[in-house]
Symmetry: C2
Subunit: 607 residues, 2 copies
């Protein structure tokens, strides 16, 4: 009996094809127009609204319409602005005797109540048109009105959510979501993801495959949430990424796979991470023979280096207190000295360091750094990694300072992409520099030209990892993977001293004809952030967690009774000391990232 009784129960519904481009409220920093769905026939007999509030124009004059929406505001007892998420429309409250009941509904319903009105589209009286409002030429002459759901006193006004505190926004997220900015962000995000899918699936034959989120602990996978099972002592882990599964899918012959995957990371919250790489120029050789003691000391160290970046117009626009700020910042955040260097192209220059330089050294420096009039150099001498980090950070700090001084450096409407490549495959462990750890993860393949070094000088091997940067923010990264079991085992066992037992299934898989492959993962939240110009990823996620991993709306995580956790054979063990940092815990699950993996031909030498 294939008769849709169920639908009969749904009877009248708001559901209806959109027409206009939505939304029409507010004006975000960076506004892209949302594409309107294609017009489709009104297949649905359960629809009650005949139009959306936002789509009505003069072309609808004289039409009888039924609209549903929220009461945005009321002007005296005469007008009422109705809102749905396609726009605003003005409704004229009838004043005549015969319509007292309708007037009562429309005048007494609190702001943000849900109402349904039926009436006629009429043109506004001459002079009362509102050109700022897409529906500003018309208004609705109401015949009937119905209060669908009243609204209690709001904790804040929907209109100006920007002024609200983060905590208040999170506690009443469902109200915050009504703001035009959040509506715009989440609707645009949905369309961006859809475009990605259409491109991958429809144009390039990628296969969308869901991989499990209840999995086994991954080596080095600290910061993975644990999920107790009903088997005493046994736990699942929530993986930080489908790392292993996507490789197993390659072995399984899904030659083009992608997924919008959840990534669970249990770690202290990072604000929008600043990229820690930069084009820096190594100027060690310039100072090799310079009679500057502290520089010489640095160069004697194994990892010692001297690097510099050029701040265009730095000499002209930055003030001495800026230099102090910069130097202090470097000391505070990196415990690293930096020296501003001023060099006129003439060769003259007034910074302390400049005085100590020979003419020849100055000119080399000017040439190397492509120094122009009124530029400024920032020079750092110290351990390689630290020097790179500090200069990378300072480069952005200086950009902010210069922009604060009115120098136009970055156009927020432009998208500048940058690939960062040739990362080292391994880095010395901080706790014990004689041992190595993966710069990214143990599955990254060595650079084809460095394969031989893997077995002699692993620390010198470059990786086939690549990062993608948009306007200075890292939005994704990926790598060509090791597809050779022996090489993978060598890296895990010999180089990294990892326990390979936990990865036996992966090593085994590589042995059964794994194709060469690689891929990339994009941080979707970050990407949408940059596209919408949102200040935080929390503005592009429907229900984000707080810095401390709390859901302020439902108050998760919450206490559970011993009975509730009993089936999982665990009990709570109250800690001796609860140190602040340890309590911190943020969930990056909402940092969903698009996983796409495709075979390539990264070569791998056998031992």
């Amino acid at each position: 009996m294939p008769f849709p009784w169920g639908l009969c129960l749904m009877h009248r519904s708001w559901a209806r094809p959109l027409r206009g481009t939505a939304p029409l409220l507010g004006s975000p920093a960076r506004r892209l127009t949302l594409s309107a769905p294609r017009r489709i026939s009104d297949f649905n007999s359960f629809v009650v609204r005949t139009n959306t509030c936002g789509e009505l124009r003069s072309s609808h004059l004289g039409q009888d319409v039924t609209l549903c929406g929220w009461i945005q505001y009321r002007r005296q007892s005469l007008f009422l602005i109705l809102r749905d998420f396609h726009g605003l429309i003005q409704v004229v409250i009838p004043q005549d005797e015969s319509a007292t009941s309708v007037k009562k509904v429309l005048c007494e319903a609190p702001i943000e109540s849900v109402v349904q009105v039926t009436g006629t589209v009429i043109s506004r009286p001459p002079g009362q048109e509102n050109p700022k409002m897409p529906t500003g030429e018309i208004e609705i002459k109401v015949k009937t009105a119905e209060l669908l759901n009243p609204c209690k006193k709001l904790p804040f006004e929907i209109k100006d959510f920007i002024k609200k505190t983060e905590a208040l926004r999170m506690k009443y997220r469902y109200l915050d979501l009504r703001s035009s900015q959040m509506q715009y962000n989440l609707r645009l995000r949905s369309q961006i993801v859809m475009k990605m899918r259409e491109y991958l699936c429809n144009l390039h034959g990628f296969v969308d495959i869901e991989t499990p989120t209840l999995f086994k602990k991954t080596p080095g996978g600290a910061k993975e949430f644990v999920v107790p099972s009903r088997e005493p002592g046994k736990f699942y882990s929530l993986p930080q990424s489908p790392q292993q599964f996507k490789q197993l899918l390659m072995v399984g012959g899904f030659d083009r796979y992608f997924q919008i995957a959840r990534c669970y990371r249990d770690e202290g919250s990072k604000p929008e991470r600043q990229p820690e790489f930069t084009q820096i120029v190594d100027v060690s050789d310039v100072f090799r023979n310079a009679e500057i003691e502290f520089l010489q000391d640095v160069l004697k160290e194994p990892q010692g280096t001297i690097k510099a970046i050029c701040i265009p117009g730095g000499a002209k626009y930055l003030r001495s207190k800026d230099f102090e700020t910069i130097k202090q910042f470097a000391v505070d955040h990196f415990n690293q000295e930096v020296s501003p260097v001023f060099l006129k192209t003439s060769g003259s220059g007034k910074s302390p360091l400049t005085k100590l330089l020979k003419e020849e050294e100055k000119s080399t420096l000017i040439r190397l750094m492509r120094v122009q009039e009124e530029d400024m150099l920032l020079l750092a001498a110290g351990e390689h990694k630290k020097v790179c980090s500090v200069l990378g950070k300072l480069r952005l700090e200086c950009a902010d300072l210069l922009e604060a001084r009115g120098v136009e450096l970055r156009d927020p409407a432009l998208f500048h992409f940058l690939w960062v490549v040739e990362f080292p495959l391994f880095l010395p462990k901080e706790e014990d520099p004689t041992e190595l750890e993966s710069a990214h993860h143990p599955f990254t393949a060595p650079h084809p030209n460095d394969g031989h070094l893997l077995y002699t000088e692993p620390e010198k091997v470059r990786s086939q990892h690549y990062d993608l940067v948009l306007n200075g923010s890292e939005i994704g990264g990926g790598s060509i993977r090791i597809h050779n079991a022996e090489q993978q085992q060598y890296v895990l066992e010999t180089v990294l001293k990892e326990d390979v037992k936990m990865l036996s299934h992966l090593l085994q898989a590589l042995d059964f004809g794994a194709p060469p492959h690689g891929g990339i993962a994009l941080g979707l939240d970050r990407l949408v952030c940059l596209i919408t110009g949102a200040p935080s990823i929390r503005d592009v996620i429907a229900f984000p967690k707080s810095f401390r991993g709390h859901d302020l709306m439902s108050n998760a995580p919450d206490y559970m009774s011993p009975e509730e956790i009993e089936p999982y054979h665990i009990q709570v063990k109250s800690p001796e000391v609860t140190d602040r940092k340890d309590v911190k815990s943020v969930i990056s699950e909402t940092e969903s990232s698009q996983e796409l993996v495709f075979p390539s031909l990264a070569k791998a030498e056998n031992p």
Copy 2:
């Protein structure tokens, strides 16, 4: 510097737009053709393969091509069949002196090794064409060959995975995935989901929104996995569905939301659930005055009823041992007696019960049940719910039996949809029938016509829940939700005696202008199962868990050291007794379901 250095590292890749329709191997029970992606320009300079194995035809004759794939098999040292997931191609192994190295590679590489060959497309010698093979008119004359990755001895042959044990398939899932059936299932699944997305997003303006999976325990949400946080004693839950979030999105004004959501359910494994409803006819009145004692006893009970189903042709095709099987089944699974009743339209009939019936009762029964010659009735007398369940199950059992006897009842190529509606809103608790529990969940709205009963006789209220059934299997369900805070609070507090504190955020949300709304959730795994004709949902999931919730490939869940769980302030508490059932635990996370919610106008009377 927006220059794609990173890509340079990826150099030659297999990646390439597909052309043919894939896959061409195997022949699944129910084969739908996979749509081929639209042709796009070869944008990618890192591509190494010029074609896929499956797409070559006579039209390619004379072309030089580079192919990558797995060695499917080798005929003597003369031919080699290369496979990728777009098809098979025959490669001629060169025999001449000059090509010894190429011959060596192609002859010595083990089966399922990954190789790359370059050569010319030539036509097969007359008489050697293979019409069964889409590429059967041609073959490849090889110039160069390269072994990209050798394959060790396989635990089983890829070709015939059907014969393998479930456990073996799961342990080597990445090999199992190479089978044409799994490739077909997962590729089709991906396309089905994509079509759903295109329909919802592009045609109907639905917004795709991800909701958190680390959330707070939901009332009555037993069987939710718990996730310990770093705050002593505090836990997250993995929700069984985005239940609350989708409603909060409605309040937030996303008037058309959907999501392909993960559902986590920690419960004993159910094989493909059989629907427990059926069109049964209540025949209690027929027997009201019949002098049949055990029937009278039943009718005296409060929930007592007598129901029957008609098995067309049952009298003709089913044997007496079938009847025994059926009766035994009912007793074993439902502890319920059922009686076969044979009634000739003439009124005669030879079953024990028939003898006890008056002529008038027989004729009523024949009329009520629309009994035809050679039909058979199955009659069950007992508690209403139990009788419905047993007859619903037996209806399907009998269908299987009849089909086993060669009666054609169900065409697997046809899709029959059925809506099941007007469920009761509440059911008496099994443990205490004087108390009520939700038939589905506490957020379902009462039927508009029954609203008044909610406050007087809640047990009589019908719900606005609806289930969707495809070919006898439940594939989804949904409901119009309560959008009125008072009504929701009344249901939770007064009717269900739930602790509303845990849902204060939802109740509050309903108070701030929640629009009337409803939705539906489809069980994607189940749906794809029915479309592909797969025997189990594990055949439409890339990495399923076993019945006991184990990942047999990686051996998850696994033990963790006290150190590893220490940050979560829990410790393992070994149980006194570990009873078998308690250990059972299956993960339905892979039962992703499509959540789509849209406002409707379900009315709700206030108290």
